[in-house]
Each structure stands twice: as C-alpha cells, then as structure tokens.
Symmetry: D2
Subunit: 289 residues, 4 copies
C-alpha cells in the first residue's frame, strides 16, 4: 500500500545546459509531438541571465518502450543543437544497485529492508563486503553476497575484483559505510555513479573519526551527509544531509549510536532520489527535484 | 543585500483546474507567443488520471505592464475555454497588506521589521488594533495605526469600521494574533484573503488556550499553524506549520514564550509565500510552490 | 563499540511524591550511608510550592545485589514515611520486553535490530502476533514467535492466551503497530506497563487512518507518538513524539511511508528510555529524565 | 504572563571540579544547614571514574541576601578544600549585559524586544556600535547607545574606548553580529564573558563569508553557532547551535536571509541560558543544564 510502484509507460527526461529563452516551450512541444502527457515538471535556473538551466519532466506515453528511439532522435536534434545535455529513462525499468559494506549493518540492512517493502524502486544484484559479518543477513533477503577482502597490500587486487563483479551488472553503486577509500583509478573505471554516506555534517569533521572529533569540539548537533564520490575525498556533490540534537551528556559512543540513525535515513533518501532520477550533479553541488 | 527586490517586467501566472493532456504545452506556447521567457515553473497534479492540475509560472517580458491586457485576453481564450482558472500578476507591483493585531506584539513587530529590511515584498497601508498598546511602535515604522475597540456589544460596529478602513485599500489581511473571532458576515464582505496564525499545531488544540491544553496533555512538541481564514474556526486551508521540542520542565508560560518564536516564524513564511503568489488554496488544503 | 552495556553494581532509584524541604538531602544522605556514589542525578518539581517532586538517581555501590534488601528497608523507613513512592532497580539486570505486532514490520524489526546491536538493554523473551507474516524474520533473530489469531468473535480468547504467555515472563510490553485494541480487562490484568506507538502527532488525528485524515486536512507536518496505554484510547501519558515535514506533493501512501520512519524512531527512543528507568508517568503526562 | 520573573530569595550555586564520592551529599547537606530548600538540581559527570563533576543547584532561602556571606564562607571551607570551583548568585539580581553591534540589526533588535517583553532576565546598560545605523532604534527602547568607530588605524584606540565604557558596568558582553575581531589584549582585559554569534554551523565554514561558502559547497542545511569568545577565532566553547533546511533553489542572499532567523534564535537562547547561570564552560566545550 505504501510501496513505490514502477510506472509503466512513463518516461523521465532530465535536461541541463545553458539557460536560453524558449527552452521550456521546446521541451513541452517535443513531448506533445510524441503524444506524451506531462505528469510532473520541475525546472530551475541558477541565474536567469546567462546561468544554467535544469529540468526534470515525467510524461506518460502509451507504448513508451517502442517509441524511445524516435523520441531520442528528436531530443538529439532539438536539444543537443542548443548545447543542452539530456537523459531519458523508462520509469518501468528499475536501476540496478550494488551495495558495498564493511562490518556496520545499519545502512545496509535499511536499504535491503526498504527494498523488500517495495519502497526502493531498484534491483539489487549484489552486496560486496570486505568482511563476512553480514553475509547471512544479506542472503536472507535473497540478495547475492560476495566477500572481497581488502586488508594488507592487496587493495589494488581487491578493487580489480570488485570492478569485475560490477562490470555490466549495475547502474550505480552505494557505499553503505564501506570503510575503504576507493582509488581514483577505481572511480575512473567503474563507469557508474557512486553514492557514499559520510558520518558527519560535511564540511565539518572531514576524514576519520568524526564522532570523536564532534565530541571533542562540543557541538550541539551531529549529522550525516550523502554525496556522490569523487577523487577528492569527502568533497563530492552533496545529495542530502540531516542532523540530530545532542547534549554534553552524550558520550562519543552515544553520538555514534544516534548518528547511525541519521546516517541510514539520509542514505536511504539519497538512494531513493537517485533511483527516481531526481538528482542532477552540478559542479560541486546538486540540483534535487 | 538580502532583500527581496520586486522583479521588473516579470509576471506570475497561476493556473489551476481539471488536469488534461497538453496543458503545460499550451501554457508555455502562450508565454512564448507573448515573448515571455520562463524563469521559474512549478507544476503539480493531484492525480494524473482525472485529478486537478496546478501550475505557477514566472516569466520575464520586457514592457510587461503594457502587454498585460493582451496576454489576459489570450489567457481567457486559451485557458478559460478548457475550464481552467488563472490569475496573472505583475511582480513589480507589491500587494497591499493590512495587519490586525491585539496586545501581543511578537508577530506584528516581526512583520513590520522584515518589511523594513526589504524581506517582505508588500506595502503595509495600515495596522488596525482593538488595543492601543502597539500604536507607538507601529508608527515608529512609518505605518499608519488605527484603533478600533471591540469590547462589549459593539462587535458588529467594530467590524463595520474595519471594513470601511480596508475597502479598496488592501489586497490581503493578516491576523497577527488578533484576539477577536471575525464573523461570517465580515469574511463574506472583506473580499480579500485573510491569513491567520493559530498558536497550536492544528488540528491539535483547536480553540482557546492551546498552550495550557498542551501542557495538560503532556505533549513533547508544540507548534503553530498559519492558515487562510474561513467561516469554520481553525479549519481553513493550512499554509505553513512548524513545531519546537519541549519537555516536562517547561511551564505553560514557557510554552507560550517558546511558542511565540514559532508563531512569528510560521506567520512570516506564510505571508511571504502569499505575497509571492506561491500558494493556491485547494479545498481544505493548499498547494505551496 | 556503540552498545549500551548493562552497568554492574549500579542502582537506579526513582522517587516521586509531594515536594517538601530536605528531600534531596534525605536521598543523598541515604545513598551515602549505603556506600553508594551518585553518578547521575536528575530532579524536577512541577511547583516548588505544594507541587510534586520527582528524582532519578543512579549510584555505584560495589556488591549491590547483596545490599539491595538493606537499602530497600532504609528506603521504606526514610521515604515511605514522607509519603514518597520509590522504585529501586539493579542496572545490571535487563528488563524483559515482549513485543506484540501485526503485519507491519518496520517497528518490530527496528527493535530487534537495535537489540541485536546491543543498543537496547533488554531481554526479548517473545514476540506475539495476530498474523504469521513476520514469524520467519523474528525467529532469525533467535527470538521465540507466538501466533495468537484475533479475528472474529475470539478476541477475549486471544487476550486470555496472550496473558498466559506473558504471565511472569515479562517486565513490560511493547505494541509495535499491533492493530488490535486491548480491552480494559486485559490492561487491568497484564500487570506491567504497556507502550504503544500511534501513527499521528497526538492529540491530532486520534483513532483510525490518521495519515488519510492528515492528507485530507492538508497538514504540513506529520508525526508519531509513543505513549503508555490506558483504557482511554490514544489518551495515555506521552513518552515521546516527533514529526517530519511533508508537502502537497506527498500522497497518502507517501505520508504512510515517511511516517513509518518517524514511528520506528519514536518507538525506539521511548522503549530505550523506559528500559533505562528514565520515564515517570504523572497523571496524563510523563517526566522524562 | 510569559515573562521570566527574577526569583526573590533564590540562589543559584554552580559547582565543578574533580569527581569524587559524596559530592552531591556534601552540597545538599550544606544547603540544608543554611535552611535552603532545593528547587532545581542538575548534575553531570563526564566520567564516573576520575572525571570531572558539574552541578547546578537552585535553592530557596528566605532572607537570602543577608545570608550570602555566611553561605559563601561555608562553601569555601566545604568545597574549595575538595578542589572544587563554585559560584553563588542571587537570582533576584539580573546580570548586566552590554551588546556590541555593527549595521545588521536582527540579533540586536531581537535581544531588545525580548528584554522589553520580560523574556530576558538581564539589565542592558548600553549598546555599543561601530556604526550609527541602529542608534535611533536602540534609544527607542530606552537603552543608551554609544558610537565607537573602528575603521582605519584606530582599532586599538576603539578597543580602549570600549573597555572604558564597559569597566565596572557589565557582567557579560554579547557580540550581536559585531563585525570586528576583538584582540587578545581586549579579551584579557575585559574581565567578563563575551558571547558571539557565528553565522555558520561551526566548525563548518570557519571565517568570513560562510553563506557564500555554503552556497558554493552545496550544503542542504545552514546553521548558526553561539559560543564564548576566546583568542582562537571561531574556536571558543559552543553554547548553542541550530540549522535550517535549504535547497539548490536558495540563492546566497536567501541563505543570508534565512540564516539571520537562525542566528537571532540561537543567540537569544544562548544569552538566556547564560543569564540563568545554566552554562559551565569546560575546555573547548560547555555543559548546558
């Protein structure tokens, strides 16, 4: 009853590029001439004069799958010539999401459980972990679990193994408290977006042990940040953040325990929005429709 | 630097009515044929199949003021024939807002002060109060103050006097903790929207003394609600709400003091959004773009 | 690392009753004369003149278990004679918590996960459900699951069966979205506190289908409330509440999905605080230290 | 009705120092032997084994003013000998608070309004500004205004003038968006606590232009932080923080405008708590009772 059903015959079109008069009219005329009925439209310009333009349109079009090539050809001739970038996705086709995890299970289980409830419109072809702690839980959800150890000098080897597992099988990757730093080489080769959850309100407490640092600094709120992963550690475009109030009475362990609740909530929202094509990265920031 | 400047040559078009294919395209074609460049567009359908459609478009059109009659004629022939309702406003023309208050000054002063800072794009032709407590403060902001007593049997007389003051002079009315219940007769005759701030999280604690009731019920959060006023007391369409956490340690007076902060914040947001044509009432609810 | 370890040789003393001079001194002298070192003390008076007094003291006392009878005798002679009520608990002994659930699993699984992570200092001797939906999940946590159907005319029979299962085995009961209304007879006979989660910000939307009602009323925040169960439905003392912001764009199903996150968070906090002896009911309200 | 009335014959005792058995009992015995009735007591130990102890006690004692010397003598002999630090204040005597401001008026006016409403239990002997922008507003509240320009090479001269104005006249100083960095020399000589409001969620966006940086970094929440001022800029003990949610649609000016609301709320809470002797600085952190 509260599931998110994949929408049959609904397309999501994301458009971005230099703002210019007539863009909205051009896109809506295009959808109209392909018999699409716009059901949701979001639009944003970061500066009406010489800024960038972003649009998300969901339209209903009976027989969508067969019509996609024709619509894409029109998009190329209509939008690409204006210097605009676009993607068109069939909302009936769930994205394939791999999850990488370590020993902490709160983010991982929250994703698997939401998926089982029908709240995350994705397929989960695999969970990969550098530990075996969560193997039994993962498989109980009917999801394949692969153990790729990462200790010691074999980090490059581990990354190579992970890339082999992912290749051709996934549309995006989620780091659900995966406690290894991925190399720039890995990120260049993975070829799909990678979403991370960082256990602080970035840019505060960049790096390791943020809850301990938060306790030492005596902050009155702690937070979590989900962002796309880039080669600059903890600097990728932020998708979602949230915080929770703490007091002097909370120990560093309390912060960690309470922060875990914020982490799983923030990561789940970020993953849902990405799965629904609601997020457009833009430089070091994101547009979230 | 953080003021909200009235936008020259920008029109805001609100459209609502039965959802139907091609509405977005029809509106964007119309703005294009009047040389309008869409800078912001929000759209919402409460049900893609047979539901209602709502749209807010802001477009830039050099020489807007002179073009408005022509655009309105086109809107009538294009949209009214589809059963759609619309309003077109020139964003360079601030709405005229009257404020009604009693003895509490927190909501009133917050509105006047935001207005002086340039954060509320309205004109304030008058403040009306059934007490004289705030007269000096109001006039220090350069705003006319009228005292209309309401005690005793002269309530109908007071409402008549208020209607005379408002007639033709205002585009909407704000009840900033005005402690009189306006009659159905007044509401039918005032002819402009009336926005109220209620000192509880409606529909909890309808009626008088909500903070005392909240203390008795032992709630852990208290709130405030801004809504359009209808004849059904505390039942009008909600524009904005917010809450703040309280504990057993807070007395009823503490709740009142802390609630006052929520009241002024919620009312200020509701007034700003109304002034910016962001709110469309829809039955007992609102669409807030 | 972020577990909540039961504290060896630590006692928690809750005191409440008519406020009077010297109570704090009397309690701290008592703990001192039993060689207890106070590590945490919270105190609250709802009215310094003729009001009620509440205190929570945690003290460290080597060899606590053996000393408890002697301390209790002293508490009786010192505090009971002043008309005060008190309870003394050994913090090394986890409370035994039964969970009643129906088909929704979000609150139930959240409690079981937290318990497995060591974040809930309780024992869970059983889960009882009027459906079998969650049986497999529950048993995977190593927790016994009992199916007690409640459909049709056998409600009294079902309650009798539940009482038999609980008798002598539990210290409190949690209704984790248990969709049956417990009779007054059940509540009088169960003999332990019963904690419920209600899917609205009480007292708004009392009764059934609160998310549908919230959608109809057009509220801008939805919430959840955890409270002790009394014979007056949805009127028991509130332990914890929280809310989340929603918009016109959220459907009733969205409200239900997003509300589920608030429900499980609020219930988990209420259960933790009850397990830690932090909550003192007081009339229709609670003191939460 | 929602004012905070200074409590006659009530003393507030703050105690801190090395934790040790019997401290709570010693303090409550001391208040009892001076005929004080404890009405509020908060206590915190950062580590029961070898940590630090903090306590706040409010007690009622008829004829307090005359008894203070005797109580202080007892505190010296009882607590100072245990290595504890303490302060005793008469709650009927409001603290004297100076406000330093520049051109922004939101924090300054908020403090003056709350003070006029009886919500801030302080005296305000003066406002000092390096601009004259707010002079008329301040004097309308019946508060003396002093203009001390700070441009150019005369910074040391300005600080000297400010110290002369403050000397002997104030118990604490509030920087209500005072846009000058106070020298270490000033801080050492001023001799009273100085409270600042920083327009970011510290430690994120330390230094100048935090809203611009927040916009560039694409954060989804912005905040404000009130802290005691130390020689290390933006590093002093944090008293209070809060945040508000923002989106990609908010410009840097929007962030500034919305952040101003958080700033004045956070500063007002911090000032209230300091005025009520609820805050104990502890290293780079604070205990807030």
């Amino acid at each position: 009853m509260n599931t998110i059903t994949p929408l049959q015959d609904h397309a999501c079109l994301l458009v971005s590029g230099p703002d210019q008069p007539g863009i909205v009219a051009a896109v809506s005329a295009l959808t109209a001439r392909h018999k699409g009925n716009i059901v949701t439209l979001h639009q944003y310009s970061d500066d009406p004069t010489g800024g960038d333009f972003f649009q998300r349109v969901v339209f209903h079009r009976p027989g969508l799958a067969a019509a996609i090539p024709e619509i894409e050809a029109d998009l190329t001739s209509t939008l690409s010539s204006l210097g605009m970038t676009w993607t068109l996705t069939d909302q009936a086709v769930p994205k394939r999401m791999a999850v990488l995890a370590s020993t902490s299970d709160h983010c991982l289980l929250d994703l698997l459980w939401r998926h089982r409830r029908g709240e995350l419109p994705v397929h989960i072809p695999m969970v990969i972990s550098n530990h075996t702690t969560t193997a039994e839980d993962v498989r109980a959800f009917g999801v394949p679990f692969f153990h790729v150890p990462s200790q010691g000098p074999d980090k490059a080897e581990a990354e190579k193994r992970i890339l082999e597992l992912l290749a051709g099988n996934v549309d995006f990757v989620v780091l659900a408290r995966y406690m290894q730093i991925l190399s720039g080489d890995f990120l260049r080769r993975v070829g799909v977006p990678v979403i991370n959850i960082h256990h602080s309100f970035l840019p505060a407490f960049i790096g390791a042990a943020p809850y301990r640092k938060a306790k030492e600094r005596g902050v009155k709120l702690i937070g979590a940040t989900s962002h796309y992963v880039t080669e600059d550690l903890d600097e990728g475009p932020i998708i979602e953040q949230d915080v929770v109030r703490v007091t002097h009475d909370d120990t560093a362990a309390d912060l960690q325990r309470r922060g875990a609740d914020v982490e799983r909530a923030v990561l789940s929202r970020a993953v849902l929005w990405h799965a629904q094509d609601r997020v457009i990265p833009h430089g070091s920031s994101t547009i979230v429709f």
